[in-house]
């Protein structure tokens, strides 16, 4: 960081401290649930017999595969708001399950596709596969800044930006073979493909939302995630994600309203 950046950060910090020391702050705890939908392509490490994004000049002979990647989120986030609720900073703990699948496209007439085992060298080994899927479970820490410029009696509109860092604690993946007798070769195929998802997963996201409820009471939030980006790579062994969006619902419970004036602290419990 250059000299100007350091001075700017210091000025902002001093500004916040100055304002914070004069204005009452509000401390809430939020519980959130949400879902996200990820756009992405098939990870090319998997040798799949298909049309890979190029034209197919036949009629009704679509060989394409479809990928699906979704996120389910549940979390707890303490939040501190200040400047009469104009800004809020929150952090906490978040559990995310990321599910990704590769299956035959809906326009295709057949139920299976061919997965090539990269371990076979002299000859080619295909397996008939209905679906490939993977679940990754993460525990993470988000850090969010909320700007709530429009506040009315029982409603407010806000913008939010955040980053999160997540750590994978569980991974489960499966190849659903058309012929169940091929299950015994599943681990060999995983070993030959060799790819494993990243232990870390991080995103930068922004959202717009609506907050319902009176100012110092329990609030209910509904927010839409704007197209957001992944900061880490290799977040799924099946899909190469590009962007994601989604929605979140949360409820915020008032814990305390605190004012700090001239180094004297008073608490008002609600």
């Amino acid at each position: 960081m250059n000299k100007k950046g350091i001075i700017l950060c210091w000025a902002l910090y001093m500004g916040f401290c100055s304002v914070w020391s004069q204005e009452p702050v509000k401390f809430t705890v939020g519980f959130e649930v949400g879902s996200g939908f990820v756009t992405g392509d098939v990870n090319s490490s998997w040798n799949l017999r298909q049309d890979v994004g190029n034209y197919n000049y036949g009629y009704g002979n679509d060989n394409s595969l479809s990928t699906e990647m979704t996120m389910a989120v549940i979390g707890i986030k303490p939040e501190i708001s200040f400047l009469k609720g104009l800004f809020a900073v929150s952090s906490g703990l978040r559990y995310t399950r990321m599910n990704s699948t590769i299956s035959k496209g809906s326009s295709s007439g057949s139920s299976h596709f061919f997965l090539k085992d990269p371990g076979s060298t002299a000859n080619t080994e295909y397996y008939k596969v209905k679906e490939l899927w993977e679940d990754n479970d993460y525990l993470g820490i988000p850090l969010e800044v909320t700007f709530l410029p429009f506040q009315y009696e029982q409603m407010g509109f806000y913008f939010k930006a955040g980053v999160e860092m997540n750590f994978r604690f569980n991974n489960h993946r499966d190849i659903v073979f058309l012929n169940p007798g091929m299950e015994t070769y599943q681990q060999d195929i995983f070993d030959h493909v060799g790819i494993k998802p990243n232990v870390l997963y991080s995103t930068f996201y922004s959202s717009v939302g609506i907050r319902l409820g009176k100012k110092n009471k329990t609030n209910y939030n509904f927010e839409l995630l704007l197209p957001s980006t992944f900061l880490t790579k290799n977040n799924s062994s099946l899909v190469v994600p590009q962007m994601y969006s989604g929605f979140k619902l949360s409820v915020q419970l008032m814990v305390s309203k605190t004012g700090i004036i001239k180094d004297k602290v008073y608490d008002t419990k609600y």
Binding site: R49, Q50, D51, V52, N54, Y55, N56, Y57, G58, Y59, N61, N63, S110, H112, F113, F114, K116, S120, A122, N123, T124, E125, Y126, Y127, K128, F177, L178, N179, G181, M182
Partner: protein
């Protein structure tokens, strides 16, 4: 009597399904080569495609025509490529005298082998419309880069025959150049014939 006929019908269905490979494998997967527009990328997946430029025109496989057949007749091996060029159906046939594999798994003997198309044991024929014309090849090669057996769910299903070809020839006195030829064919019960 009805019971016997029904039983025979089911037996016939089972036998036929055993002979035929998966229909998905017979389909063509055409992935265009960005460097050579109109031609499929060179591949070794059994994508059932082929393509070449005949002078400046594209001659390539289609979804509706069976792109490749191998016929072994007495001691002669024929590789037949059927496709279209400018909406006309063309058939290019390479015939090699003195090579006669017994069945499609034996095609692996062709792996990494080159056939000189100017040799006496080789005949190249081009059928445009209904009349096959024997080409007088002046230079060129047919290269079977990789021939491999394909197993699906651990059962031998077909042979994948992949390679390239280039040649210059006289077609009814007019010189033509066939360039950047490539093929990737699954050859199995349905398109290997010996008689």
């Amino acid at each position: 009597m009805k019971k016997y006929s029904l039983f025979s019908f089911f037996i016939a269905i089972i036998l036929l399904s055993g002979c035929s490979e998966d229909f998905q494998l017979q389909k063509s997967v055409f992935i265009e080569d960005v460097n050579y527009p109109g031609l499929p990328e060179y591949s070794e997946w059994g994508y059932n495609t082929f393509g070449a430029y005949i002078d400046r025109k594209v001659f390539a496989s289609t979804e509706s025509d069976l792109p490749g057949k191998i016929i072994v007749n007495k001691d002669t091996f024929h590789l037949i490529l059927k496709g279209r060029s400018d909406y006309n159906t063309l058939i290019l046939k390479f015939s090699v005298v003195g090579y006669s594999p017994a069945d499609y798994p034996d095609l692996i003997t062709l792996n990494d082998s080159t056939i000189n198309l100017t040799g006496k044991a080789c005949i190249v024929t081009l059928t445009d419309g209904y009349s096959p014309k024997k080409l007088t090849v002046t230079e060129g090669k047919l290269y079977f880069k990789r021939v491999q057996k394909l197993y699906v769910d651990r059962e031998l299903t077909e042979s994948i025959v992949s390679g390239t070809f280039n040649f210059k020839a006289l077609n009814a006195g007019e010189p033509i150049a066939v360039s950047n030829g490539r093929f990737d064919l699954g050859v199995g019960y349905d398109n290997f014939f010996k008689y």
